[in-house]
């Protein structure tokens, strides 16, 4: 199996020039037909670079976080608006339409943690923002763009889950009530009912802090990575109870980020061991280990068309085209040709 002569997979291309470690990545445009697709990257030096995936060059640089690390980037579905969170305790809302790049609004953060925020935005004007709150274990929910505080989610006194590490707001198709998934410092993942301000369910997935997770709301399944040597897959049943389905052992400890591809076929993890690992989402079978970076991989992101980007401490962003998503989704995910490649690199 390992004797296959196929060379290890290469990135499709590599973006250089951030001149500092890359901590946040986000794909933008392209699929919705808004011109050429863009990739946004946030760096340790506080800059947000906007890359054109067509020319593979930075088209603009946003400087708004006073030289402090940018930890989270997210665009809003309508309008060309970008949210960026920085370690300078600011959350900026940028207007990117028609080549503009100006801060139109900001929210002050009150927690110095590592937690990335999350938004829940539909087609309406108003949207919801979840961000770490004032107390070290609190999560604050704001209604945007008015910035009115909806509530503060504080765990019960006896729970002591530690700081929230990662957040995800979502809404079940059947139920309009917003829900919040939060990964905590003690390695647990909790599901909050935002309107009732209570924890629906909480499950301990890891023994180390949860560093990142992604949730597939269709399958009601999520996957989380932590500082330890394992990935945890957990699910949510109809009673909104979380339970760990399985854990997947890794060779090296430390997962900085986990992302499921929009078509829910594969997922990618950003490893402290400089590697990006790709798994089959349904079976959690390891598919490939992407070795390119020479420093910790801090973040991964998937584009709507399936492109994978990984940002690393070596100041490079690698772009990978893996098991390309075909326009007709009926095709089997892993054809024989792709299977070969898997064979070569399944060994982590």
């Amino acid at each position: 199996m390992a004797a296959s002569p196929l060379p290890p997979p290469d990135p499709q291309f590599v973006l250089r020039g951030t001149q500092s470690a890359v901590h946040a990545l986000h794909f933008f445009g392209g699929a919705q037909g808004q011109g050429c697709p863009l990739l946004l990257s946030g760096s340790l030096s506080g800059l947000v670079h906007i890359w054109s995936l067509q020319t593979r060059r930075a088209v603009a640089t946003l400087d708004g976080h006073g030289g402090q690390c940018v930890t989270w980037l997210q665009t809003l579905p309508q309008g060309h608006q970008l949210l960026s969170q920085g370690r300078d305790l600011k959350l900026h809302l940028w207007d990117l339409a028609e080549g503009r790049n100006a801060v139109v609004d900001s929210v002050a953060l009150e927690s110095m943690g590592f937690c990335r925020s999350s938004v829940l935005a539909g087609t309406q004007e108003r949207w919801m923002l979840a961000m770490p709150g004032r107390g070290s274990d609190e999560v604050q929910i704001l209604e945007m763009p008015s910035k009115t505080s909806v509530c503060t989610l504080k765990p019960e006194a006896d729970a002591k889950p530690g700081m929230p590490m990662c957040l995800e707001l979502w809404q079940a198709d059947s139920n309009p009530r917003p829900l919040l998934l939060a990964g905590y410092e003690d390695g647990s993942v909790a599901l909050w009912d935002v309107s009732e301000r209570k924890v629906c369910s909480r499950v301990a997935c890891h023994t180390e802090p949860v560093m990142g997770f992604d949730f597939d709301s269709q399958k009601a399944r999520g996957v989380s990575g932590s500082a330890e040597k394992a990935l945890a897959v957990w699910s949510l049943d109809e009673q909104q109870a979380l339970q760990v389905c399985r854990t997947h052992e890794l060779t090296n400890p430390g997962i900085a980020d986990v992302k499921i591809r929009p078509d829910r076929k594969i997922l990618a993890t950003a490893g402290w061991d400089h590697r990006v690992r790709v798994f089959h989402w349904r079976t959690m079978k390891p598919l490939a280990v992407l070795r390119f970076h020479s420093a910790t991989v801090h973040c991964v992101a998937f584009a709507a068309d399936g492109l994978l980007a990984a940002g690393s401490g070596d100041q490079r962003i690698s772009i990978w085209s893996l098991y390309p998503t075909h326009s007709d989704m009926s095709a089997p995910l892993l054809g024989p040709a792709e299977g070969r490649e898997v064979g070569a690199h399944a060994v982590a």
């Binding site: 290469d10 590599v14 250089r16 020039g17 020479s294």
Partner: protein, 1084 residues
């Protein structure tokens, strides 16, 4: 002479002469009448026209034999009258016409009378004038059916004259007159255009003459080329005017099949009448086709351009006016036209293009199915015979055949796709093109010629043009190649590009035999498709859209630069090539690894069943063509090509560093093309602006070095051509390179050392050390030198005791300095160079921030160099020493980085100096010299401790050997080593500013080599050592030399001093005499 304005006066004047003429018809009388007529005004003469004409006509009509001279003057006189007056009555016109034409006819011989040329000319003139003098309506009335016999007679007479006559003048006049008769006169006297009915009437009438006229004229036209072009030109003109008039589609389409009963026509005349019904048209057209074919064939190759020009007019007229009636002739006509498109005369070319454009505008071809069919048919048959023609014809023939093909394509325009869609014909066409474009690949020079190993890639493009000349197997004419290029471009422009590209791509894949030609064709197809060099004759034709074109170009590019088409074996002997081969076919390992010298392997190559010279030549050309293609694509896409640079620039740059001259030139050419197309000033600009794309390719390829062995070379080229702004981009790649190097120390060190060299050279250039130490030191050395040369001037006879005392004091002080006892109040001159240097490197260490990127890189590289210094490969060791040298230069201002590294490099550097190849020894000396300049103190003690004893020792022990050896000795390794050490020592000692003791060591070791018994080269080297040493301590050396050989008795500078006796003997037998003398002279 009086002028008679009124008819009365004129009558009075003319009457006597007329009367006399009626009575006695002599030439004199006619002349007198003519003289009188001169004085009569035109209006008066008009009144008296009939009266004056009467005696003249009478003279003509008088029966009986007449003297020619008389007839001639009568005709001339008649002509004069007619030229000044108008003929108003039809009867008069008819009668005059018959009478005049009868003059040339001898009833007995049934042929033109054998009369004098002057008379013939006069009659022709007369007829012509007569027709001009007739009023418009009168003329029309004249052309009634009843005139047919008489008109026919005149026409045949004129044709006879035109055909048979010797005199060119008569011929021309006859043709001119014929034109008048056939209503084709182009003078200004016939202003009224004919209406339809009249045209038809005339057409019916002339139809009767058509056979005669066309045949006679054809004979004239196809006659001897020497008869003069004007005759052929006017014959052609009459031919097409007549044919296009009689056979005009507009007239024929209104002809009914039933013959209208001609009113009041004699039966005899009615017989002559022609009715132009369908059957007649068909018959006539068939016959005309034969004639037209004859004419086109003959005239196409007529040497005079005006004739060919007239032919284009003929074609235009016939095709425009008789497109239906003469449909059968369209083939030959179009063929002729198309063949003239590339005529050698620019006039004909322009006219031809004009006609073609006209046709296209009027949609003559495209709008007319029949024509399009004919053209397609022609193209079909040409395509079919093309391979054979290309094979059998000579260059001229090929040229015209291809011109024809080109013309068809131009005419057909978008319709060409009908032909192309037929697989068989496309096959034929492509085979022919491929065949004719076959290159001659026997030239060995192409394989042999090597790029000059320079760093920069901008080899002058003008020399490239010279060398890129291709030799084709089947033709030598450069024009043919241009024609073929045009042809392909036109195909690309009008043809279905997808279809064509697919087809030629298939051929490209099919066989290596077709590959080069297919690539050439593909290149031109794309250029053509962009519509850049093509003259569009078909305005409604839609060009290939830029997006489509980009897509197609991307596909072709991918193919060109794919592994199997881009990395071809073009040479055997190179180190990389050798490695490649071993990678691919491990069986050859023994051969390739055994030989590193070019010569040996290339000879082996001949006997080895590996790549032959031919196949390598072919590969070289293929790469060149593909490179050229990339340039062409850039040209075709313009600025749009910028996006493709992502994938295209890397391969091009890779080839720019290729060692085959031709390839690197082609790559440079392609880069220039890209620069032009994408708006970059120079290749340097191109590279620096797109270094991110290059870096991407480099870093990805470095991951698979075995598949991409040329990657280091690209990095090298990029480094040579960029500036400091590149550094942030390459920083990580450099780390990759070093990491890869660590993995492949044994296998790929050569190429990597090249990169490291380029990198360090670039760093040294990008970050010049601001507080440069080298410069002032050189200066101070110079000063020292001058100071030294002045010094010996001091001990002169005029010296005083004080002088001597001062001198001694100075000497002591200097000696102190030389021993290293540097004190603060030291001598100015020396102080300036040394202490600041110390300061500079001392301030750094304590507050050192993390070193800048370039320093870090230089540090990392230097570390690798330490390992590589002991590589088995000589060239690598040499290269590494160069790199090391540059590392020292880059690191010079960061002593705390440099010194530890120098410390680590020291042991292996020592080994290079003491026990290695002479070349390496020399190079190592150079490094030491640089190192000495940058960290002198550190080095001095090390050198004196570790190296000097060994070197001096070996010099001393070798000296007797070399002194005794014969002439063969200079070829031994020992000699080379001696030489290298001697050559290296001098500059180094100077740079290190050695102390007295060490200096003596050096001098002692070298002194022996000043002996005349030593080989000359060693003596020279030793002399040079001493020259350097003199700069450090002249007095000491002076003393030493004098100890060896003392040329003169020394007289003390002051009587109070003792005379000195030195050990050096002055005898003639001293072997050191010559060299020491020479050196002492230098010292003076």
């Amino acid at each position: 002479m009086a002028v008679f304005d009124t008819p009365e006066e004129a009558f009075g004047a003319l009457r006597p002469v007329c009367v006399q003429l009626t009575k006695t018809q002599t030439v004199e009388t006619v002349e007198r009448l003519r003289a009188q007529l001169q004085a009569v005004s035109d209006s008066a003469l008009q009144e008296l026209q009939q009266y004056v004409l009467f005696p003249l006509r009478f003279a003509l009509k008088t029966p009986g034999p007449k003297r020619e001279r008389l007839i001639q003057s009568v005709v001339e006189c008649l002509t004069f009258v007619l030229s000044s007056t108008c003929v108003r009555e039809r009867e008069l016109l008819q009668e005059l016409f018959s009478e005049l034409s009868a003059c040339l006819y001898s009833p007995s011989a049934q042929q033109p009378a054998a009369v004098s040329e002057e008379l013939k000319l006069a009659v022709i003139q007369g007829l012509s004038t007569l027709m001009h003098s007739a009023y418009g309506d009168t003329v029309l009335a004249f052309y009634e059916p009843s005139i047919l016999p008489r008109l026919g007679f005149a026409v045949s007479l004129l044709l006879d004259l035109a055909e048979q006559e010797k005199s060119k003048q008569i011929k021309v006049a006859a043709l001119k007159c014929l034109q008048v008769l056939l209503f084709q006169c182009d003078c200004q006297d016939h202003p009224r255009p004919l209406d339809e009915r009249e045209q038809k009437q005339l057409g019916d009438l002339f139809a009767s003459f058509l056979p005669g006229v066309s045949m006679a004229l054809t004979r004239v036209i196809t006659g001897d080329f020497k008869q003069g072009h004007s005759i052929v030109v006017s014959s052609l003109k009459i031919f097409y005017e007549t044919v296009s008039f009689v056979m005009a589609d507009t007239q024929l389409e209104r002809t009914s099949d039933a013959q209208p009963k001609p009113a009041s026509v004699e039966p005899r005349v009615a017989e002559l009448m022609v009715h132009r019904e369908a059957k007649w048209v068909k018959n006539t057209s068939d016959k005309l086709t034969v004639l037209i074919e004859k004419i086109t064939e003959c005239v196409c190759i007529h040497p005079h351009w005006k004739v060919r020009l007239a032919l284009t007019e003929l074609i235009e007229a016939l095709l425009l006016k008789c497109s239906q009636s003469l449909v059968g002739s369209a083939g030959p006509l179009l063929k002729a036209l198309v063949g003239l498109v590339n005529d050698e005369s620019p006039e004909v070319q322009t006219q031809c293009s004009k006609v073609l454009r006209h046709f296209a505008d009027r949609k003559v071809v495209v709008g007319n199915r029949a024509f399009a069919d004919i053209l397609s048919e022609n193209l079909h048959s040409l395509a079919t015979s093309l391979p054979r023609l290309m094979n059998s014809q000579d260059d001229q023939g090929r040229f015209s055949t291809l011109s024809l093909l080109l013309g068809y394509l131009k005419l057909l325009g978008p319709e060409v796709n009908f032909v192309l869609r037929s697989a068989a014909h496309l096959q034929r066409l492509s085979k022919a093109l491929i065949q004719v474009l076959e290159l001659d690949v026997a030239d060995i020079k192409v394989v042999e010629e090597r790029r000059r190993p320079s760093g920069g890639l901008s080899s002058p493009p003008e020399s490239a043009a010279l060398l890129q000349r291709r030799y084709f197997r089947f033709f030598t004419d450069e024009r043919l190649f241009l024609l073929l290029q045009q042809l392909c471009q036109l195909l690309g422009f009008y043809g279905d590009l997808y279809l064509l590209v697919d087809h030629f791509m298939e051929l490209y894949h099919e066989s290596v035999v077709y590959r080069k030609q297919a690539a050439m064709i593909l290149n031109e197809l794309v250029v053509g498709a962009a519509g850049l060099e093509v003259e569009n004759l078909h305005e409604n034709h839609i060009k290939t859209s830029p997006e489509e074109l980009k897509e197609i170009v991307t596909t072709i590019l991918e193919e060109y630069t794919s592994q199997e088409n881009w990395y071809l074996v073009t040479c055997i002997e190179s180190e990389e090539g050798g490695e490649e081969l071993t990678m691919k076919q491990s069986g050859l390992q023994a051969i390739t690894s055994a030989a590193h010298t070019c010569q040996v392997t290339s000879f082996q190559a001949f006997s080895k069943p590996g790549p032959t010279i031919c196949s390598m030549n072919s590969n070289i050309w293929q790469i060149c063509i593909q490179l050229e293609g990339i340039g062409r694509f850039a040209y075709a896409l313009g600025k749009d090509f910028r996006l493709l640079l992502m994938s295209a620039l890397y391969p091009v740059l890779e080839k720019a560093g290729d060692q085959t001259l031709l390839i690197s030139q082609a790559a440079t050419g392609a880069m220039l093309d890209i620069c032009h197309a994408c708006g970059y000033d120079s290749p340097q600009h191109l590279i620096s602006q797109n270094s991110d794309y290059l870096v991407n390719g480099i870093s990805l390829n470095l991951r698979h070095l075995s598949l991409h062995p040329h990657t280091p070379k690209v990095l090298e080229v990029m480094l040579w051509n960029s500036d400091a702004s590149l550094l942030p981009l390459v920083a990580d790649v450099v780390q990759d390179v070093l990491a890869t190097l660590d993995q492949f120390y044994d296998k790929r060190a050569t190429s990597f050392v090249g990169v490291l060299h380029a990198l360090l050279a670039a760093l040294a250039q990008w970050f010049p050390d601001t507080g440069d130490l080298g410069q002032p030191q050189e200066q101070s050395a110079g000063e020292e030198g001058s100071h030294l040369s002045q010094k010996p001037a001091a001990p002169e006879n005029t010296a005083t005791a004080e002088d001597i005392e001062q001198f001694l004091l100075n000497y002591l002080k200097e000696k102190d300095v030389a021993d290293g006892n540097v004190s603060d109040f030291d001598n100015e001159e020396e102080e300036q160079s040394e202490p600041p240097k110390v300061d500079e490197c001392d301030t750094g260490p304590d507050v050192e921030p993390p070193p800048p990127v370039h320093i870090q890189i230089a540090k990392d590289v230097m570390e690798r160099c330490i390992h590589l210094l002991s590589d088995k490969n000589l060239t690598i060791r040499l290269k590494v020493l160069d790199v090391l040298d540059l590392c020292v230069v880059v690191l010079q201002s960061h002593k705390n980085q440099l010194l530890p590294l120098a410390h680590r490099a020291w042991p292996s550097l020592v080994r290079r100096l003491t026990s290695d190849d002479p070349l390496v020894v020399l190079r190592a000396f150079k490094v030491l010299r640089t190192l000495g300049g940058k960290c002198g103190d550190f080095l001095r003690s090390r050198f004196c401790k570790d190296i000097l004893p060994q070197l001096a020792g070996s010099l001393v022990t070798q000296a007797p050997v070399s002194a005794r050896a014969g002439p063969v000795y200079t070829h031994t390794l020992a000699f080379k080593l001696q030489l290298a050490v001697l050559q290296g020592l001098g500059p180094l000692c100077e740079r290190l500013d050695l102390g007295e003791g060490d200096l003596n060591k050096v001098a002692d070791a070298c002194l022996i080599y000043l002996s005349a018994k030593q080989p000359v080269k060693l003596q020279e080297a030793a002399r040079r050592v001493f020259l350097h040493l003199m700069k450090v301590d002249p007095d000491c050396i002076w003393f030493l030399l004098n100890e060896l050989y003392c040329p003169e008795q020394l007289t003390p500078p002051h009587p109070s001093l003792h005379p000195v006796q030195l050990r050096g003997t002055t005898g003639q037998g001293n072997p050191y005499a010559a060299n020491v003398l020479h050196l002492l002279q230098e010292l003076q």
